[in-house]
């Protein structure tokens, strides 16, 4: 409301909102002539930034914070995009911070956001975060928090995530349905939960299809990098020449494996089928193109903001916050790195 009036004054006088705001605050770099004009019109429009209005504006800053583990990452870029698009539509601005999976940084960044009077925070927990006092504290202080992607059952707030276990089960089932009999899994490092869930999903699919789980077919990628996939593919075929399918934790890892296997003269998908996870842009441009599980980042970002917005409305209406858990559904995208299913 206040800002609307500010803009109206600016447009009427043909000056920038900055000038209006500065004139009302008696900044020295604004001419007294302009200050007079602005204040006269402000009075006429009943725009008096009194303490009450101030505190109102402090209470509702129309700013939200988005703490993201990694900015340069296709999935997270899409989340940033979804949040910004949804927030802009509702007139909110988004402060973006990168936690780089650091618990300390996550704590500091939450404090910084609180000091900026943000109306709420969207957070994906860092892999290092093991206790949640710093998050529960602000929730108790009536500042809405929505967890996205990496969440915890121990935090009582709205959440949006995918079902990693179900998604990995889908991916493995796709390999089985397309005729794979001996499937290796390139997993992520022990923690975080996502890598455990994806391993469980792989295991579940095998069991449901009467394929016994074999520990020696699970390989660990510590950095989830292209190079990891490239290296592990070699180990897989050396240790298990009869492997005919690989489910990799991430497209980046799958792409490394795909390129190494081609170098080793393997035909993809005929000799070995590969499926990744995330549906990164790059999965479309490898040759053969990479089958994968679509992890809808944009939709997750949009939903995360919408949940936060509803929390903010609850607060404004003096109601207690209604926490919602939203599970974004995933689907297998079958491309040329897996055989067609008859």
């Amino acid at each position: 409301m206040a800002n609307v009036t500010l803009k109206k004054i600016a447009d009427t006088l043909g000056i920038s909102p900055a000038t209006v705001s500065k004139a009302l605050k008696d900044y020295p770099d604004i001419s007294s002539k302009t200050k007079e004009k602005v204040k006269a019109l402000a009075k006429q429009l009943h725009y008096t930034p009194n303490p009450f209005a101030q505190s109102l504006r402090n209470k509702e800053s129309k700013l939200i914070g988005l703490i993201i583990p990694q900015v340069v990452h296709h999935f997270f870029s899409n989340i940033i995009n979804g949040v910004i698009k949804a927030a802009t539509q509702k007139g909110y601005l988004v402060i973006v911070l990168e936690s780089e999976e650091s618990y300390e940084r996550e704590k500091d960044q939450i404090n910084l956001l609180i000091e900026k009077n943000v109306d709420g925070i969207l957070l994906s927990l860092s892999d290092k975060t093991v206790q949640y006092k710093h998050i529960n504290a602000i929730i108790d202080n009536g500042i809405p928090v929505v967890l996205y992607d990496k969440i915890s059952k121990l935090i009582n707030c709205s959440k949006v995530m995918i079902n990693d276990r179900k998604a990995s089960q889908q991916a493995t089932q796709h390999l089985i349905d397309s005729g794979c009999k001996k499937i290796a899994h390139i997993r992520g490092p022990l923690k975080p939960q996502t890598t455990i869930d994806r391993l469980m999903g792989y295991r579940k699919a095998l069991e449901l299809n009467g394929i016994s789980y074999d520990d020696s077919l699970v390989f660990e990628s510590l950095n989830l990098s292209f190079e990891d996939g490239y290296q592990l593919a070699q180990e897989i075929v050396e240790q298990h020449p009869d492997v005919d399918g690989i489910f990799a934790f991430a497209d980046l890892v799958a792409t490394g494996a795909l390129i190494k296997l081609k170098e080793l003269g393997k035909r993809i998908p005929d000799d070995i089928s590969i499926i990744g996870f995330s549906n990164w842009f790059l999965s479309k441009v490898t040759s053969p193109s990479l089958s994968t599980v679509d992890q809808p980042g944009f939709q997750m970002g949009e939903t995360a903001f919408e949940l936060l917005y509803e929390n903010i409305q609850d607060l404004k209406n003096g109601q207690s916050i209604n926490h919602q858990i939203v599970e974004i559904s995933t689907r297998v995208i079958a491309r040329d790195s897996t055989k067609t299913i008859n």
Copy 2:
């Protein structure tokens, strides 16, 4: 300064900065006991949020705005990352907005940022922006603006960009040095300036090597998409079977061309060499890997913030803003889609 004290009070009393700030503002949801404690300590630390302090904080919000054409884009993700990293180090938070190449949106977003009292704005001009009143207005109002990537000579402020003409000349020269005689160019749409500059660079390289420029070898990609490259590659070989090199405006376009040429049975680089532009992540994972020109987004983002920070310091020290123009240097990254140079 004020925030430091706020945090100190919070840490000392073992409560969140939000509670401190709310206690000082007499929010109803804070117990009077807590309010007493906070106010006592605040007084002891000489932390009195008086109007002067208020206006100081208004003047220095430690918030900056980053207006980016497109969030989900490897080059721009790297810019966002560079800005956030550099800003965080100096204790600034970054509001990220997406202009989507819309002039209207750019204007609105600048106003929104001004109303949030940002200390400065980092802006890459939208392709549609043809007049600069809205930008010069805020510069005149003493709010520092730094232009990055897409700049204009008509705006008097600090700028950071690459030299597109020089970079494209390097790319074309690399094809010539590796033995290409007949080089096609896939250019972008007429505007913006970058596509014109890259065409000029291509032309310049040809001239310097005594190769006469041929209009029919220049193909226009309207969407700078993977599909565009895929389609245009077909046209190129149909219309000019003897083309032995292609310089594409962007890696995405080059990747589309590369995959189509392989489908057409062309050997890369022996029959046709391809070089792209930007050094997107995907250029490493195509097969053969794509030679390209590195466009250092992270460095551009870092530099853009540093220039803005210096402007902000100039203002704080009551000096006039010292405008700097920084050109980030680019280099050719030779991979397997071009022949090795003897």
